[in-house]
């Protein structure tokens, strides 16, 4: 299984922010995306997840193999930890809720409603969701925000397990995950050149 991204260009707010990004990810590999704030990491990940169209280039992967983890975790505050996970497991037709909770150290909190979790506990629950999708390609946007050092370790361990089982991961982060085996791709060189102002008052590219 592979994720092949070739010469992709992505746009935000009608403005191309990144262009010419290419990489390839095979089973068991992880790639960390880096780049200063605002370079377009989130935009790139959303495009790969299929939530917005790419401006150019191609993305190749098996259908329904990608699982997106965003800033917002998709948790329902009034449901308990276990109920939240069970829902996503049912949506993806997968078992393993208990296992996911155990892996992310949530078993003690299983009957706590998500509203009553601290910032870091919530984040752990959001990451546990990845485990119940059963999908091989994880696309994660700053997954370790709010996590303490121990939880970052925990997550790195889970990630290694996922890779060892043949999964892939694409992670945008500013923090060092301690994942030495992962390749790093700095996005700064791919920042889109500012489109030239249309000459002669032409409208044809004013919409770019």
């Amino acid at each position: 299984m592979e994720l092949v991204v070739a010469d992709i260009a992505v746009a935000r707010g009608g403005l191309t922010v990144l262009e010419g990004v290419s990489f390839r990810l095979s089973s068991g590999q992880a790639l960390v995306l880096r780049g200063p704030n605002g370079v377009g990491k989130t935009t790139l990940l959303r495009t790969l997840a299929g939530l917005q169209p790419a401006v150019g280039g191609t993305v190749n992967m098996a259908p329904e193999s990608l699982c997106y983890g965003a800033h917002a975790d998709g948790l329902k505050a009034v449901l308990t930890v276990a109920e939240n996970l069970r829902f996503w497991a049912a949506i993806h037709g997968v078992d393993g809720v208990d296992d996911a909770m155990a892996q992310m150290n949530l078993t003690a909190l299983r009957d706590r409603r998500a509203a009553n979790l601290s910032a870091g506990q919530k984040r752990r629950l959001g990451l546990a969701r990845l485990l119940v999708t059963g999908r091989p390609i994880w696309v994660l946007d700053e997954p370790t925000v709010s996590l303490d050092a121990a939880s970052v370790q925990l997550f790195a361990g889970v990630l290694r397990g996922h890779l060892a089982a043949g999964g892939m991961a694409l992670i945008a982060t500013h923090i060092d995950l301690g994942l030495d085996e992962a390749a790093v791709l700095d996005l700064s060189p791919f920042k889109a050149a500012l489109p030239k102002v249309a000459r002669g008052g032409g409208f044809d590219e004013a919409f770019a």
């Binding site: 003690a108 909190l109 009957d111 706590r112 509203a115």
Partner: protein, 242 residues
């Protein structure tokens, strides 16, 4: 010994455990007596026929529906001023009882209205203000249920109860102003006994006492439950943290 001693949940649980069977027993006795007396052993009214029998349910329920709200108002004030948990929980416990009494008054009134006024419902001021009272109860209960944190919920519902009471009184006057009604005037006042003859009056008083006792018994019982539920929640949270 000050009365505030009973605001201590532990003390309250002890006292109410002792009092509850008595109040409950008495209320059953008076209610059964009053209703049987009213239903089987009173004559028909010359104008209203057998429908007068409805009075033994309708009037006590209507009175207690209003008094329950007054009790909730007092309990809310005590909670907000002195922060005694029992009073907040008593207000919470009383609301569904008051709401049920409101329903009883509305239903029996409607059933009475059909033969007497030829309609189930008329926008008579008293009826209307009762409907509004029903809405106040619903809002109050809904707010209790919508807020998770028990103290927050108690504070918010307390404020709502006070503001709501002011507006309930205003509504009563507004509604009076809006429409003159069909409904009976006060006939139970002590100085105008002749309005309702003794045959109807005595069993009615028994029923009213029965309803008062029933209200007390229910509120005691439900407050005990609320206290336990509150403690249960606290213990469970503790357990989870540990």
């Amino acid at each position: 010994m000050s009365i505030w001693e009973y605001a201590n949940p532990k003390k309250f649980m002890q006292t109410s455990a002792w009092a509850l069977p008595w109040v409950a027993g008495l209320s059953v006795v008076t209610l059964v007596m009053g209703l049987i007396w009213g239903f089987f052993f009173t004559p028909d009214d010359y104008k209203q026929g057998s429908t007068v029998k409805i009075i033994y349910l309708h009037v006590p329920a209507a009175m207690m529906a209003i008094n329950a709200w007054v009790m909730m108002l007092l309990a809310s004030l005590i909670w907000l001023i002195r922060r005694h948990h029992v009073s907040a929980l008593a207000a919470k416990a009383a609301a569904p009882v008051g709401l049920t009494f409101t329903f009883i008054a509305l239903v029996t009134g409607a059933l009475w209205g059909q033969p007497m006024w030829g309609t189930w419902w008329a926008w008579d001021p008293r009826l209307t203000s009762f409907l509004i009272l029903c809405l106040f109860y619903l809002g109050y209960i809904a707010l209790w249920q919508a807020v998770d944190d028990p103290d927050t919920a108690a504070d918010l519902t307390g404020v709502l109860c006070i503001v709501g009471s002011v507006f309930a009184v205003l509504s009563r006057y507004a509604v009076n102003f809006w429409n003159q009604g069909l409904h009976q005037g006060a006939s139970l006042s002590l100085d105008k006994e002749e309005n309702v003859s003794d045959v109807f009056w005595l069993p009615l008083v028994v029923c009213i006492v029965g309803f008062i006792l029933m209200f007390l018994a229910l509120v005691l019982m439900r407050t005990r439950t609320e206290i336990r539920a509150r403690r249960l929640q606290a213990l469970l949270t503790r357990e989870r943290i540990a």
